[in-house]
């Protein structure tokens, strides 16, 4: 249908025709870029991703290289030495100092970026996939299956998260992979609940009924109609969930249940240095700052995404 436009409005008509249809993704990106916090968070994350990708080039030493015999004068737990900040030129530079096993802390923190980002994405990816499946199944099937699955999720949610992951790690055995698995399992209920809620609210919408009337199979309905429309809250929760996963796995590693030495994981670095805190605070400080900054990045971006995806903002 065409709308008759008076000649005086011809210009406006041109604009209307040239305007591209609004899409949720373009709106979201626009909203996101308008939020200072989200841009800041995204910048931090881009920085960490770059560090992770180029870790080999950025690091001055190997993450597990012991400097005894490699470098003359490398002292155990030596504080940071940076020539620009007044450290004697005769000494070798160690931006973040040297740890208790005579390794370069800067290189370990840089390589830790890789491990922590991988932990965050893998753990949350696992939780989202399993959680989405459970939630979609429960919401779509309804009835007894829904009840059973959701009560199971309630039980998982009833445990304090860290405690349940500790209990799971005791069964699976310590190690980085098992710690990730434990944190992933503990995170499942959140995504299952979100997915189920979305499925239930979308299931009865007209466009789904129309699809069904056109002969779409149950699987097709779920995968092509329902899940894409339920993605928004999952993306937001997933971003915030990565922050949580990075923190939780670091906490398990700190307790000695996750990454095992000599792996350069931030939590385990802090855990190992805990008893030398008073003698060598730099051993805790630098991995601690890296951990807090990366978590801050995910948190800011997640909060920003939540606001950006809120249609009330598209004024």
């Amino acid at each position: 249908m065409t709308i008759a436009v008076p000649p005086a409005l011809g210009l406006a008509e041109d604009k209307l025709q040239n305007a591209r249809p609004a899409s949720i993704w373009r709106d979201t990106l626009g909203n996101l870029l308008r939020q200072r916090n989200a841009v800041f968070g995204g910048t931090i994350l881009l920085f960490f991703i770059a560090v992770a990708v180029f870790a080999d080039q950025i690091a001055t030493h190997g993450p597990t290289t012991v400097l005894i015999g490699v470098e003359a004068g490398a002292k155990k737990m030596a504080p940071p030495c940076i020539h620009l900040l007044g450290c004697a030129e005769s000494q070798t530079q160690h931006y973040f100092g040297i740890d208790g096993n005579v390794r370069d802390v800067f290189s370990r923190v840089v390589h830790g970026t890789r491990i922590s980002l991988r932990i965050g994405f893998l753990t949350v990816g696992f939780a989202i996939i399993i959680g989405t499946l459970i939630g979609a199944l429960a919401g779509y099937a309804g009835g007894k299956l829904d009840n059973l699955l959701m009560r199971l999720m309630d039980v998982l949610l009833a445990f304090p998260a860290l405690l349940l992951s500790i209990a799971i790690v005791t069964v699976l055995g310590t190690g980085l992979l098992n710690a990730q698995l434990a944190i992933g399992i503990v995170a499942i209920p959140v995504y299952a609940r979100i997915m189920r809620g979305s499925v239930i609210s979308i299931r009865e919408r007209d466009f789904v009924t129309a699809s069904r009337a056109l002969g779409e199979s149950s699987f097709g309905l779920l995968s092509r109609r329902i899940i894409p429309n339920a993605l928004t809250p999952l993306i937001v929760q997933g971003t915030l969930g990565i922050a949580d996963a990075v923190l939780s796995v670091a906490a398990l590693s700190f307790l000695g249940l996750g990454a095992q030495p000599p792996e350069a994981e931030w939590g385990s670095m802090i855990g190992l240095a805990r008893n030398q805190m008073f003698a060598a605070p730099h051993l805790v400080l630098f991995p601690g700052i890296a951990l807090a900054l990366s978590v801050l990045g995910f948190n800011l971006l997640g909060d920003g995404l939540r606001d950006a995806l809120d249609p009330r903002l598209n004024r």
């Binding site: 039980v155 860290l162 005791t170 700190f254 249940l257 805790v284 948190n299």
Partner: protein, 381 residues
């Protein structure tokens, strides 16, 4: 209101059963010989046989499910015969008697260990929660009231950083700052333990001459007695109270910062939402003082989401307590659990996990009930 409470109580029963079942199942999935897991590596044939008989290890785990040489075996034909006669029922019976097994490492019943350790965690959590609520709500209020002022920007910046800083990093940094940097100044604070070395706290049961008492009442008195703040206040021992508080400040700051940040953010956004509503304009138009409008009208209605968020923080606090206790050398539940993992002390892990999870469900129940008090609409749902 009564109906609401009863319905909410009934709803938490399946969850409680589920928790017991999960902890039971986790214990049975642990690889290796359950006897060695429970009695330690040096258990001999005879003590193992006794243990197996006492805990019914030869019986079905669940109706029809057996474990033979470490492998799960399902025998559908034996389901009716093992419907009542199985390990899960035995486990429930033990629990009903308050028997959580014995700790290998400490040589104590897990219940006794709980009475020693749980008070520390409860005390720590309460200090941290109080700090988080008082400071968080105040900061949130100021932020919302002076929206976009420097105070607001700074508060929200601190809140964002606070929420992202791991408990164990913050704890170690605080310990360094207050114990090393401020060493010798009046602001120096002890970075470890609950009390100065050498200070003893008399048990309330002894003070009150109740040493003959046994059973649950005694357990409760011992429990309260180990909450040193309570103990000091009841006995009017102000010197001890000062020591206890000084030792709790750093752990409470470390543990309370994340909830503080979350509470502050929630208070701010919830109050801002309320302050934009019509009834606030009406209140202002009536000529009420701004303070009355914000505190009595807006804040009161903004409180519900804040209470929800406070309730949601409790699980995180328990988790954070594990880390805080490790850093500040507090002999609480969390440290008991991590130490138990190191020494494969499974009875402790299971007993503590179970008790904490059940406590957590009950606390969430209380949080739900508090909504009903705050918001009459909840009761009708």
């Amino acid at each position: 209101m009564t109906r609401f409470i009863i319905r909410r109580l009934i709803l938490s029963i399946p969850v409680l059963i589920g928790i017991v079942f999960v902890v039971f199942a986790l214990a049975r999935i642990i690889p290796g010989d359950p006897c060695i897991a429970a009695l330690g590596e040096r258990a001999n044939e005879q003590s193992c046989a006794e243990y197996a008989a006492r805990h019914g290890l030869d019986k079905a785990i669940m109706p029809g499910i057996f474990r033979v040489d470490g492998q799960m075996e399902i025998r559908p034909a034996e389901v009716p015969a093992t419907l009542v006669d199985n390990q899960f029922v035995l486990y429930l019976q033990d629990l009903a008697e308050g028997d959580f097994g014995r700790s290998l490492k400490f040589g104590l019943p897990v219940t006794d260990l709980l009475i020693q350790r749980l008070p520390t965690t409860v005390e720590l959590t309460l200090y941290a929660l109080t700090f988080a609520i008082v400071a968080g709500i105040s900061l949130g209020l100021i932020s919302a009231y002076r929206r976009n002022s420097i105070a607001d920007v700074v508060t929200m910046l601190i809140a964002n950083i606070g929420v992202s800083t791991p408990v164990f990093v913050l704890g170690l940094v605080l310990a360094y700052f207050f114990a090393v940097t401020l060493n010798g100044t009046p602001f120096e604070l002890p970075p470890s333990g609950r009390l100065p070395p050498g200070v003893q706290v008399p048990a309330l049961a002894t003070v009150w001459g109740l040493e003959g008492l046994g059973g649950p009442p005694r357990a409760i008195i011992d429990f309260l007695s180990n909450i040193f703040t309570f103990n000091a206040i009841v006995r009017a021992d102000w010197g001890l109270l000062g020591d206890v508080v000084r030792h709790m400040i750093l752990p409470a700051l470390a543990l309370g910062t994340i909830p503080l940040a979350i509470i502050a953010r929630m208070t701010r956004s919830s109050l801002l939402d309320e302050l934009g509503l019509d009834y606030i304009r009406t209140a202002r138009a009536k000529g009420l003082r701004e303070r009355t409008v914000v505190l009595r009208h807006g804040f009161r209605n903004a409180l519900l989401p804040v209470v929800t968020v406070i309730g949601l923080q409790l699980g995180g606090l328990f988790g954070g307590a594990v880390l805080t206790e490790t850093i500040f050398n507090l002999a609480g539940v969390g440290r008991a659990v991590t130490e138990a993992i190191g020494s494969r002390d499974y009875a402790v892990i299971q007993g503590f996990t179970l008790v904490i999870a059940i406590g957590f469900v009950l606390i969430n129940l209380l949080v739900d009930l508090s909504y009903a008090v705050l918001d009459p609409r909840v009761r009708l749902r």
